[in-house]
Subunit: 196 residues, 2 copies
DNA sequence: ACCTGAACACCGTTCAAGT
DNA sequence: ACCTGAACACCGTTCAAGT
């Protein structure tokens, strides 16, 4: 990549992060180009789609999460591995407003720049869930896609100002619904375990 | 209301229903006016905000639901009343794509034309939940707003093409998480009760 | 190779001018 | 009273012209 191109790319990424943090995943791309002092065509050259830009902004987060999940496959109990994955995924997904819908849409679409991130997330969750299944601590009528749907739904709740205050609590409620067995009514009835 | 105004109002409502059904709550209002053969200003005169139009489209549904919920306060068991409210609310909220976000936003905003519908929904749910609480069949760390958040999140799932296939199942999972006590692991572990 | 910005086809919202 | 559509300020996306 040529030096001037590199500079533009980096600036677009930095400005993109600011703008998306402030206005969410649906932020104006024109605004990004403007604030980066770059022609609109230059933005489209580096990031042909909105997904491409958001993928670049999320990649490090997704990578961190998947390596952490891999570590926990050996270092944590099945229960901790699963609940950690759940909480980390929710945290990642509400990094920017609107990410939940974006990732969810990218799941179906192999052409989307975000598809790989989706699959990585989905698969890490599936592995944590299956480990929990064989340990007998998670309900067996839930699969990896259900789990993905639940974290997406929770992430969406964080984006809604009127509901966000209850979102932390509901993460606990839903964790409890996924876990089962010895956890029993302790998990489903008591206060949500204050982890984090 | 003058006869010509009435005609325009009715046409806008009918066309609005079609367009919103097809394109969701974020549908182009310009498109509605165009297809209704009405000036853009006429649309804004009858429906000063997007919420006003959607409120008109949803009012009958909300009214039906709240009267049904009131009926069930005496005619149904606390459990049936609660699960029925939950399923009916989800059904209503995914009447059109994007309604969940709209209702959720209107919750906070007393100025929104949808605020009354929100409150009606919220309150009907709260009553069903409190009845379940006194009957000892619902977890007590969940309040009416939590319940509202859960149905909004589920409604949102129905709007996501990649997750919609699992949404029915997850309604069952979450119903089970809200209910507690004698239902115990039967609800939380078994297949979701195939109601509907 | 890479950058630029005008051009095109859309929005939502307002409001002067008409009947 | 009510209706109309031009006007304004925004979008996303493409692409001919420049360096």
């Amino acid at each position: 990549m040529r030096a001037d191109a590199r500079k533009n790319y980096d600036r677009l990424l930095a400005v993109g992060r600011e703008v998306v943090t402030e206005h969410g995943a649906e932020a104006s791309l024109r605004d990004v180009a403007r604030k980066a002092d770059v022609g609109l065509g230059t933005l489209y050259r580096h990031f042909p789609t909105r997904e491409a830009l958001l993928e670049a902004l999320l990649r490090t987060n997704v990578d961190e999460l998947t390596t952490q999940a891999a570590d926990r496959e050996t270092s944590s109990t099945p229960e901790d591995a699963l609940t950690s994955w759940l909480r980390d995924s929710v945290a990642l997904t509400h990094e920017y407003r609107g990410v939940a819908a974006l990732l969810t849409a990218a799941m179906d679409d192999p052409e989307s720049a975000l598809n790989a991130s989706c699959v990585a997330l989905h698969d890490a969750g599936t592995r944590a869930l299956e480990r929990a299944h064989t340990a007998g601590i998670a309900r067996t009528d839930i699969d990896g896609t259900d789990l993905f749907a639940l974290i997406a739904a929770l992430a969406w709740l964080y984006d809604q100002p009127s509901l966000a205050p209850r979102a932390d609590h509901l993460v606990g409620v839903i964790s409890g619904a996924v876990l089962t067995g010895q956890a029993g009514s302790g998990v489903s009835q008591g206060r949500p375990r204050a982890r984090r």
